[in-house]
Symmetry: C2
Subunit: 331 residues, 2 copies
């Protein structure tokens, strides 16, 4: 089966599972909680969970609750992130807090967080023994902790005087890459995978996740608003310390630095000022630098994924295609 067809099929199964599990009252709460799930999304993380389970000798079926769990955990972080970043658009629809207000969005995210656990615990109904389920729950918990630490780092970076790329990589490793890695580990653990294989899947995904986030930063500056489903330049308006900004600030002269800093994080900046900042960044060579950095992580991710051995050749091939997709994404 082709990679995209399979991705689509898993996406449908995971969605159905989510709609089956995530329901209740009051209606407003559940509507807001399911808003992003209904709006679509690439569903890369659940695909990683399913493929990792298959690579470790499990069936696709047993990984569906875990796949739903990682997608829901991801969605929860989006809901709270959008409040923090004051984003108004996500997946082509208004953000949760924009429609239902910040208070409901906070609770919505919390509800999703809890449902991620409920989904994963349902693995028990698929014949997975308790000790594996607990291990998977431990992995989900670790991911949630690390993502929160990453989000806090992301918030704190702009308050630090001089930020270097090491610090940035540390931040995106926590904020973005860790959940990709955990998505793989959860699938592999549920299937009772071999320790060495699990470690390779994890390591491959850490690297792919870092490349993914660097590309996300680049797309935030040069991407197409309609394809992305969110406004460009929002990183600049929010004053995010992306790798592009970090590289630029460390590269340009004092005047340029002052000008760029005066626009970064200014929520009232005009479109003219935003594109001026974008120009400063582009002409500093930051995009080439970031492309190059992403490629290093991408190569490492691909290399590790190639070293994984499994009897399920099809799953392995598709896992590698996911890695390629993540590191080369244009949207």
């Amino acid at each position: 089966m082709s990679f995209l067809l399979y991705a689509n099929e898993i996406s449908k199964r995971v969605e159905n599972f989510i709609y089956e599990v995530v329901k209740g009252e009051p209606k407003t709460l559940y509507e807001s909680a399911l808003h992003y799930i209904k709006a679509g999304g690439k569903r890369i993380r659940p695909l990683i969970t399913v493929l990792s389970a298959r690579i470790c000798g499990g069936s696709e079926n047993i990984a569906i609750p875990g796949a739903a769990a990682v997608e829901i955990l991801h969605t929860f972080t989006l809901v709270h992130d959008d409040i923090i970043d004051r984003d108004e658009l996500r997946r082509g629809v208004p953000t949760v807090h924009k429609i239902w207000g910040t208070d409901m969005a906070i609770i919505s995210g919390d509800l999703l967080f809890a449902y991620a656990y409920r989904c994963l615990i349902k693995s028990l109904n698929y014949g997975i023994p308790s000790d594996r389920v607990v291990k998977a729950l431990e992995t989900l918990t670790e991911a949630a902790i690390i993502v929160a630490e990453g989000q806090a780092l992301d918030m704190l970076l702009p308050t630090i005087d001089s930020v270097d790329s090491t610090r940035y990589i540390e931040m995106i490793r926590k904020k973005t890459a860790s959940l990709f890695a955990s998505s793989a580990v959860i699938g592999a653990v549920l299937a009772g995978g071999d320790k060495e294989v699990i470690e390779k899947l994890r390591e491959s995904m850490i690297n792919a996740g870092i490349a993914f986030q660097i590309r996300d930063d680049i797309l935030g500056l040069v991407g197409d608003e309609k394809i992305l489903g969110k406004p460009v330049y929002s990183d600049i308006r929010e004053g995010k310390m992306t790798i592009l900004v970090i590289h630029t600030l460390n590269k340009i002269n004092e005047d340029g630095r002052k000008r760029l800093r005066s626009i970064l994080g200014n929520r009232n900046a005009s479109l003219h000022e935003l594109s001026e900042a974008a120009e400063i960044i582009k002409s500093s060579g930051a995009i080439e630098y970031a492309e190059n950095l992403a490629e290093q992580y991408a190569n490492r991710a691909i290399e590790i994924s190639r070293s994984v051995v499994s009897e399920d050749r099809e799953a392995l091939d598709m896992f590698r295609e996911v890695v390629e997709f993540m590191v080369k994404r244009n949207y």
Copy 2:
């Protein structure tokens, strides 16, 4: 051992466990997450967990991770609740969002949520078998879902035209009583308790939790600010549909209703207006009504707790003392 001495001892053990487990970087995030734990608190929920475990034949030791989990889950809900209610004072200290800002407070709460799971999973190190740990995790998850539903209901009640006491009881059963009940169930499940005993502990705590919350509403109107550690009248300023307000609105004439509604939820209301609203409520007989309602739930809670049988007489006595404490609290 006296009830209060024991409560104090458990509180210390749970705190030490929490400080041992909840640590990491960035510092700001962990400081804000531990802010309310450090500020004190009654620690009723962890005490319920420990006593329930003992009632079911478990040792105090094996219940400490579960006890820490319920206290942390409770703390997480406080952090997010305070953002939503715009509260500025809690346990005699400024609220988390007041010190670190709303964005950090959102992440702080999320981090605590994850750590509640990490603590509970650590029960494995205390010799609890995986299947019991998963059951306890299921209970924690159910509590988190129900609490979120209760918080959403709490937010939505003021938007409903006519609210009766049934709806209010449903709301506080979810928002407040469910976590008390789950605190008991988690302890009992970890100890491998008998189904019938677990059900009684749960049911007793549901009733005690409802009585507890009704008393909380009353104290919010007539309590002492210094003892409570939070401002009186804040429920009125926030427009909360407490049982007092619901009873008053259903009891008084149209003019009074209009006047009360004009003050409720008005964040700029003067102290004079707030005490005027308090007077309207008091003179409607709402406090007597609420006291009476609380007593009914209290009696039921005490009655059920008396029907529980256990070989650990001391734990059983103390559990009943907790119930009495909860339903008769003056702070």
